[in-house]
C-alpha cells in the first residue's frame, strides 16, 4: 500500500510554491534543484497541477508558476484523493471488474471502506497552510533566501 511518487512530488511542488511570497513565481528548475528531481519529470507534475487549478502558470521568459489560490484553500485530503486515481483496495470495490462470488454478502468491503474513510477524514483536517507553518525552517532547508 503506497501513494504514487507523483502524489508525493505534487505535494512537494505545492509546498515549495506556498513558501514564495505574493505573486512571486517558482520555476521547474528551482524545484528540481531543491528536491533533486529530474525537471523532465517535474514538468508533468506541474502541468497536471495547473490543469487541476492548483497552480497558475506563466509562460515565456521569466515565467513560472504560483499557487492559484490561498494555501488555506488547498485541502490535503481532497488533494490526495484527486491525485491518486485508484482507491479500489479490494477487487470487489470495482463492480465492473469484480468476480468474487461472495461479495453480495461479504462484509469485508464495508470494513475496509470504513477504514479508508477514516484515513481521509484525518487528511481532510489539514490544508497546505498547515504544512508551511514553519516557513523559516523550510526555507532554510531548501536553501531559499528569505
Amino acid at each position: 500500500m503506497n501513494l504514487k511518487k507523483y502524489t508525493d512530488f505534487s505535494l512537494r511542488v505545492l509546498i515549495f510554491a506556498g513558501l514564495k511570497s505574493g505573486e512571486e513565481l517558482s520555476t521547474i528548475k528551482e524545484v528540481s534543484d531543491v528536491y533533486s528531481i529530474s525537471p523532465e519529470h517535474l514538468r508533468k507534475v506541474v502541468h497536471d497541477l495547473t490543469k487541476r487549478g492548483l497552480l497558475t502558470s506563466v509562460r515565456g521568459r521569466n515565467g513560472g508558476f504560483r499557487l492559484a489560490k490561498p494555501a488555506s484553500d488547498i485541502n490535503i485530503g481532497l488533494l490526495i484523493r484527486s491525485l491518486e486515481s485508484d482507491f479500489n483496495l479490494l477487487e470487489c470495490f470495482d463492480k465492473g471488474t469484480n468476480h468474487c462470488v461472495i461479495s453480495p454478502g461479504c462484509s469485508l468491503k464495508h470494513v475496509v471502506n470504513k477504514a479508508l474513510f477514516q484515513f481521509f477524514k484525518v487528511l481532510e483536517e489539514y490544508t497546505l497552510e498547515d504544512l508551511i507553518q514553519n516557513e523559516e525552517e523550510l526555507r532554510e532547508l531548501m536553501g531559499m533566501e528569505s
Copy 2:
C-alpha cells in the same frame, strides 16, 4: 493506493476456511473453484498463510488446510498489516532511501502517518469472526453445502 491481490486472496481463503466446521479441511482446489482463482496462484497464498501461522496444513491424500486458531483470534488489521509489506506512503517514510531535503522540518509525514494510523485503528476493531457472522448466506453464495 491499493492493496495487493495477494492480500485480497488471503482474506478470502481465511473466510472460506473459517466457514468450515471444526476440524474440517479445505483444499486449494475447492477454494480455487469457488473464487475462480488459479490454483497455482492460490497455492502460494495458502503456503504463505501457513508459514505465518494462520493456517495449519495437512499434506498427503485427503489433506488440506484449516484455520490454525479461532476466527476470533485473527485480527483483520494486524493481518493486513503483515500481508502488505510496504507502507512507505511517502519517500521520506523510508529513511534509508529518502532524498527529500525538507523532511527534517516537513510535517506532511506526520499528517499522513496519523491518517494511516486511523486506517488501521478501524481495521483492528474487526476479527475474522466478524466477517463470517452471516455463515449461512456466505455458504450459500459459495455453493457449499451446509
